[in-house]
Amino acid sequence: MNGTQEGFRAYEYILFAAAAILTAVICVCLGSVNVPLKSTAEIFRRAILGLDMPKELPASIILTVRLPRVLCVALTGASLSLCGAAMQGLLKNPLADGSTLGVSSGASLGAVIAIAFGISFPSLPFAGTMVMAILFAFISLLIILGLAYRLDFSLSTNTIILIGVIYSMFVSSAMSVIITFASNKLKQITFWTMGSLNGSTYANALALAAAFAIFGGILFIKARELNAFAVGEDNARNIGVDVKRTKLTVLICVSALIGVCVSIGGTIAFVGLVTPHAARFIAGPNHKRLLSASAFAGAIFLMLCDLAARTLLSPLELPIGVVTSLIGAVAFIIIFYRARGKSRGA
């Protein structure tokens, strides 16, 4: 550490951004319906120059279905991965992530309540589920961490995972109870919990982008504090970090990001868990670099998973969560064993 340049260097940004953009281009060009590369390019040329779209070009497939979906997926991946990286640093726990901690479950509980009891704001059709998802994500995080602190002040991996699992189970029974009370909306709720990015719109992408810019931005600003936390909470306190405030800020940002993601795409497991670890291999443990790398890696990973979900069984679609979980579960086990091996060796 020479101390001169902690964050990403310009060329690294360009490299990561180029990889993400390349992935996005591939994902827009490939899909369930086979659109020749030439037509795709022509559609974009005309769209950018504002020319009339000839009827024979499948412009609506590319521009109103595929592009917003790829954007939503990329932003969701970046947000979830960023959240994962921040949580892992803050809690000094390699298995922390929205889905393992039960935050995503909490967010979906909020959204299900919003659907079941028809909570909505008249002018903004999806705001009801979004606000409830964010609110419940935050409450869940407080409950889980509160319980974990009481049991085990050091917030060890086992305690957190255990409480996360218990909480997820609790949430799933709570959901069953709600479904019993609102059985007329059973179908809606069932489909919602399965999650889908199939109907992504530019409005969704905009909401995700805004959330990422605001809450992701705050997380980036807190990178230095996260570095201190990654060494240890006492260490952070000793070097003058306002521990309570930092923690609360990070938790609020993480809840908000996860809440927005869940309300738009449903719960997508493992992205936040796996990609930060992959990013750590490339960028190292310094959060100033790790957060950026995680965001890019998350976007790329989820875009590729979504591509697989969209194309493997065409015309059918696989739920994206199935693809991420398949890959994520294997990675999870590897990480868990490595972490255990390390702690035993020490």
Partner: protein, 333 residues
């Protein structure tokens, strides 16, 4: 929750596979009865109800039916107290004018409106045997798709006869109706109901829709991921019958499909079976307003129909109502 979700997905997938896979099991003729036929030969004459005069018993002979899972069920007399566990079969009982026999219904039975006066019991994976036994029915009528066979065995152990229906196409619905009619002693009603349905469907089939029109069935709206009904579903069968082509006949059963594919296949008609909950745009408005769907023939012609009351998804007589509604809609212009 994560696990539940996956489990749910797997279950749903499994259910759909069972429900809509190849229809080799529809008629009861070729199914061999399972091993535990509880030796009925000692208790009742094996003779068919049609010819009881052979019997030495002075009592009116019992009814023996073979249900659609190939199980032989013997009743002393036509059932007078029935629990109908699945929605389609419940509708059949009511359509046979035997609503007063129903002492219990599965919680998702919602048609006709009179069913709501009847005690509701848990069904499907949550079936509660005690709840059913407490109602003291003679017979439990259910769809084999909704029930775990182990649970069926338990209910029979509790002394309640179980008749299972397994209708995967319209022909199968006729079998269900005849079977249920026999069990509750409404054979003639069953016959006339079947005849009425057959006539209705024949009329539709005889006057096919002109031109090569395609239809897209939407089971779940875009917001929750698009699900459609492909081959082996009632919707596909009815569309084909009236000369329409189901856009997604290459999909087996129900499946989640890509939005791109709907736009690419450009259906002439769209049928959504979403319910309207009284807030926001109606299902039809929602489809007409979807971004990127404006160029679809169905959307341009305003040819979107909402059949929101499960007419086209349940193995019940109302399939004909659904078929008629769809037929009237596509022939309206």
């Amino acid at each position: 929750m994560k696990n539940t979700k996956k489990l749910l997905a797997v279950l749903l997938a499994a259910m759909m596979c069972i429900a809509f896979a190849a229809c080799q099991n529809t008629d009861n003729g070729d199914v061999t009865p399972p091993a535990d036929t509880t030796a009925p030969e000692t208790t009742a004459p094996v003779a068919d109800t049609a010819a009881p005069e052979q019997s030495a018993d002075p009592e009116p002979a019992g009814i023996t039916v073979t249900d659609m899972m190939g199980r032989e069920v013997t009743l002393d007399a036509p059932a007078s107290k029935v629990v109908a566990l699945s929605a389609g079969e419940c509708e059949i009982v009511y359509a046979l004018g035997a609503g007063e026999l129903v002492v219990g219904r599965g919680e998702y039975c919602d048609y006709p409106a009179e069913v709501f006066d009847v005690a509701s019991v848990k069904s499907g994976s949550e079936t509660n045997i005690e709840e059913i036994v407490a109602l003291e029915p003679d017979v439990l009528i259910t769809s084999a798709m909704d029930q775990d066979q182990d649970v069926i065995a338990k209910i029979e152990e509790a002394g309640i006869k179980v008749v299972e229906c397994y209708a995967q196409d319209i022909e199968g619905v006729y079998t269900s109706i005849a079977l249920i009619g026999k069990v509750i002693g409404r054979d003639s009603e069953a016959e006339s109901l079947i005849a009425q349905m057959k006539e209705g469907f024949e009329q539709i089939a005889a006057n096919k829709v002109e031109g090569e029109k395609t239809v897209y069935f939407e089971v779940s709206p875009l917001q929750w991921g698009l699900w459609t009904a492909g081959k082996g579903t009632f919707m596909d069968e009815i569309a084909t019958m009236m000369g329409l082509t189901n856009c997604f006949s290459d999909v087996e059963g129900w499946g989640e499909i890509s939005q791109e594919q709907v736009i690419e296949r450009n259906p002439d008609y769209i049928v959504t079976i979403s319910m309207y909950y009284g807030e926001g745009p109606t299902p039809v408005e929602e489809i007409l307003g979807r971004e990127g769907w404006g160029e679809l023939t169905a959307v341009k012609n305003n040819a979107v129909l909402n059949l929101a009351n499960n007419e086209l998804s349940r193995p019940a007589p109302r399939l004909l109502d659904g078929a008629k509604a769809l037929y009237d809609f596509v022939t309206a212009e």
